[in-house]
Structure formats: C-alpha cells, structure tokens
C-alpha cells in the first residue's frame, strides 16, 4: 500500500550560466545544480542550495525566491572573482563552492525518492514547473576560460536560466 504523505522539502533542479570578469580573465560558468524549496514558519518560501550548498534565499513566491537565489549566486561569483588573482584559483574556488556539500543533499535525495515512490506528487505551484530527469542532467559545474585565442563562440553555447522539478520516473 502506498502511504500518502505531504512533501515539505521540494526538490528543485537549476540551470544557470554566467560570464564573469576577473583580474585579467573572462570566465564562463555553467551550472547544473540542485536546491530545496521549503515554506518556513515566517510564511516565506526559502530556497536552500544543495549544489551549491552554501547559499539560501527567500521570497513571497517561488518565482521571487528563485530570482533572489539566482542573484545571490551571481554576487557570490563576483566576490570570488574579486578575491582571486588568477583564473586557476578562481576556478578552484568556484568548484569548491559548488561541490562542498552538507546534509541537505540527503534531504533532496529523500524527497526525490518520495516522489518516485508514487506516495506524493509535487503540489502547486511546483506542479506547474517543467520536469527534467536528474539522471540525464547530473549535478555539475563547468568553469571555462573564455578569453582564449582558440575559443570559438557559437549561439548554441547559450543557456537559459531555469528551475524545474525532477521527473517522477527515472530516465
């Protein structure tokens, strides 16, 4: 028998792309990440990072919360660019920021399993979001130096900021 339960932690998949100016370099950062959304006691939606984990933001709607989270993430990249004198140290710190995890990763996996068990379906407003497969979109970040002579720019490199919910069926 499948027990019906309420989903308190809502697993979110995020995709973000930035071009960041550093001290003598231009970096392109593309992130395929994870986060949790949760309605807290203050009646706000909170978005807690999973990858990257060290970040949180709030809003009155999930759209506002995502936009504030997105802006906070960009500001963090600005801070890292300010603090690092070379592309290599910038890249290392962005990767550390992205991959340094915490217990929210287990909550994300637990919420995904709950959705996949069939016990729950994402409620509104999450039910209106696009659905993507976590297996076909693994959690990862790429930090690429863009100001290289051999770098070729093509329109297909462009990535739209998105947030989505994981599909109920494994890919």
């Amino acid at each position: 028998m499948t027990e019906s339960v309420e989903l308190r932690e809502h697993p979110i998949m995020i995709t973000l792309q930035d071009a960041i100016s550093g001290d003598g370099f231009l970096a392109g950062i593309t992130l395929s990440g994870r986060a949790l959304m949760r309605k807290e006691d203050d009646e706000k939606w909170w978005m807690y990072g999973v990858h990257p984990a060290g970040i949180a933001e709030s809003g009155t709607t999930i759209e506002e919360t995502f936009l504030r989270f997105r802006n906070k993430y960009k500001e963090t990249l600005f801070d890292i660019a300010q603090e690092n004198r070379s592309f290599d140290t910038f890249k290392a710190e962005v990767e550390r920021f992205f991959y340094e995890g915490d217990d929210d990763e287990q909550l994300w996996e637990k919420a995904l399993l709950a959705i996949r068990s069939g016990a729950i379906a994402p409620p509104a407003p999450f039910s209106n979001l696009p659905r993507e497969s976590p297996e076909s979109k693994p959690s990862q970040i790429t930090v690429e130096r863009l100001d290289r002579k051999d770098k070729r720019f093509v329109p297909s490199d462009n990535v739209t900021d998105t947030y989505s919910v994981p599909m109920a069926q494994a890919a």
């Binding site: 203050d42 807690y48 060290g54 709030s58 963090t76 300010q82 217990d103």
Partner: protein, 73 residues
C-alpha cells in the same frame, strides 16, 4: 517567533558554538569559515533572517543544540 535576529547575536552564538570560526567581509556578503568549510553568503545586514542562519548552521555543521540555546534559529 521573530523572522530575523541581530547579527551581534549571531556572532555571540558563533563564539560559543563554533570555536575557531572566522568571519570576514566580502563585497556582497559575510564569509564565515569553520570546521574546514566555508559559508560565503551570510548577508551583511545588521539583522539576519533566520533562514540564512539555519542554512549556515547546517552547512558548517555547527552543534545544533548549542545554537538553539542562543535562540537564533
């Protein structure tokens, strides 16, 4: 329950519950280090929303029982 607390109370909690922590100001945020981990997104405001503190405590693996005694989460 208040949705935010004074930063001075957060720092008091860190002094007791996260001995050896460091905090510095970046352009956009406070950067807190503890337990060989870094939390680089704590707001620079005088009042900090509790959600930020909850996340920082989880991320830096600060003793939750100790934190709760300070009433900051």
């Amino acid at each position: 329950m208040s949705a935010s607390v004074a930063y001075t109370d957060v720092e008091r909690m860190l002094r007791e519950c996260a001995k050896g922590f460091t905090v510095r100001l970046a352009n956009h945020s406070r950067v807190v280090t503890y337990n060989k981990k870094v939390y680089r997104t704590l707001p620079k405001f005088d009042k900090i929303e509790i959600g930020h503190i909850r996340k920082m405590v989880r991320h830096l693996e600060i003793n939750k029982d100790c934190v709760e005694k300070h009433g900051v989460i």
